[in-house]
């Protein structure tokens, strides 16, 4: 019915994008035909983030900070260098800051404007980190957001939200859980979840 067309157009405004699989395949095909991209490079990028760069990197940083006061001090002073000393550097981690949770203050990281995230230590961001619900609310209602992750902080705990508006990337250093004295770095690293390094969890919390 032609009089409906106006509204159908508004509603189904961009069907071209409904099949992303086909769309991205077409893009890869034409760019490869043009000699602009190397599908092997794509494979290598994907493999890197599937197997080499992920939250284990960050957990190693945190566990070392818990175990080695000199390293923790270095991390506070120059996170980029301290983290690079463990072999973690590069894309979306060029300029790192480590922010330490304390009994007084809980840190939470967000990027309200896009999805800035410390790839070099945490890998690729989860979907929720990039989605409107988290980006809109983390800065205005962090306790409400944390509750949705199952984390309820004491009412008096200060909450510091870091909105990553520039090229600095933030790694939260969670508090070391109680009862972990004498544990090895390797064992400690297992207590450090990805979310605890974003601030939506604490270390040792059941995921």
């Amino acid at each position: 019915m032609s009089e409906d067309h106006h509204h159908d157009h508004q509603h189904h405004h961009d069907n071209r994008y409904s099949d992303m699989q086909a769309r991205v395949r077409a893009l890869e095909t034409v760019l490869t035909e043009k000699g602009l991209i190397d599908p092997g490079a794509i494979d290598a990028i994907v493999e890197t983030y599937e197997t080499k760069i992920g939250p284990r990197n960050g957990a190693h940083v945190v566990a070392k900070a818990w175990s080695d006061p000199d390293f923790a001090e270095w991390l506070k002073r120059d996170a980029t260098a301290a983290i690079a000393s463990l072999g973690y550097a590069g894309r979306q981690g060029e300029h790192m800051r480590a922010v330490f949770n304390t009994p007084d203050t809980h840190n939470l990281v967000v990027c309200t404007l896009c999805s800035c995230y410390p790839w070099s230590v945490l890998g690729l961001p989860p979907v929720w980190y990039k989605a409107p619900a988290y980006r809109s609310r983390a800065v205005i209602d962090p306790r409400g957001v944390l509750a949705e992750f199952g984390l309820t902080l004491p009412e008096t705990r200060k909450i510091r939200v870091w909105d990553s508006t520039a090229e600095l990337r933030y790694l939260v250093i969670p508090e070391r859980p109680e009862g972990t004295d004498g544990m090895s770095e390797e064992a400690l690293a297992k207590l450090v979840s990805r979310d605890s390094m974003i601030g939506t969890a604490i270390a040792g919390m059941q995921p």
Partner: protein, 219 residues
């Protein structure tokens, strides 16, 4: 621009939905979209600032429903067209029809480890001393450009305290539009929740942004 990307303090998106044991990718095309986006970034034809602005320019309703890899892909298509690497017809059909512009670099598989390890540092030296020091009270400026900015709408015309001088970095508001890197000092500025959100704000909340020097005025 006050685009759909400027989400801080907006409402109506429902609860955050963390996914248990979320996989790295939810579909094969997401892997390819990641790799293509990074490969095309290696052309050296646009900056991260220009690519962010291309994402911000996606129509709001599309931006808010698209997954982030779709946002990347839509913006990449615009950048490829703008810089002469592919026409809209080529992108839609998936077949070469024109000779593309010449990229500064084509990313081969064996270059990937080095390129990812280097990343794209954007600290740049500046000749001036920082105007502000930790402890200084500053007020963010009020502006509403149609162009790119990294000062979120919620943090404009607000008074805060400089917590740290973070170094000097490429200025995105200029660089996104080809007006040069024009580096400036960047400061971490902390605001009380009440200063930003007013009555009813969480009294335990402070929010910080990283602000380029020209975003700030001394109070």
């Amino acid at each position: 621009m006050n685009g759909p990307h400027d989400l801080g303090g907006q409402m109506g998106f429902g609860p955050v939905a963390p996914e248990k044991d979320e996989p790295y990718f939810h579909a094969e095309w997401e892997k390819r979209a990641l790799g293509i986006t990074l490969s095309c970034g290696a052309f050296g034809a646009w900056s991260i600032d220009e690519s962010r602005h291309a994402r911000e320019n996606i129509p709001p309703a599309d931006y808010l429903t698209a997954s982030y890899y779709e946002i990347w892909t839509r913006a990449l298509e615009v950048l490829l067209e703008r810089h002469g690497f592919a026409t809209r017809t080529e992108i839609d059909s998936g077949h070469k029809q024109t000779v593309p512009a010449t990229p500064k670099r084509i990313l081969a598989a064996d270059m990937v480890p080095g390129v990812l390890a280097r990343g794209g540092p954007c600290d740049r030296p500046v000749d001036t001393e920082p105007l502000f020091q930790p402890g200084d009270r500053v007020r963010t400026r009020n502006f509403n450009p149609t162009t790119h900015t990294r000062l979120p709408r919620y943090a404009r015309s607000k008074t805060g305290v400089v917590e740290a001088v973070q170094g000097s970095y490429v200025f995105p508001d200029d660089n996104a539009h080809g007006r040069g890197e024009n580096p400036q000092w960047v400061y971490t500025v902390v605001f009380d929740g009440g200063e930003i959100w007013g009555e009813g704000a969480d009294p335990t909340l402070t929010v910080s942004i990283d602000a380029w020097e020209s975003y700030l005025e001394r109070v």
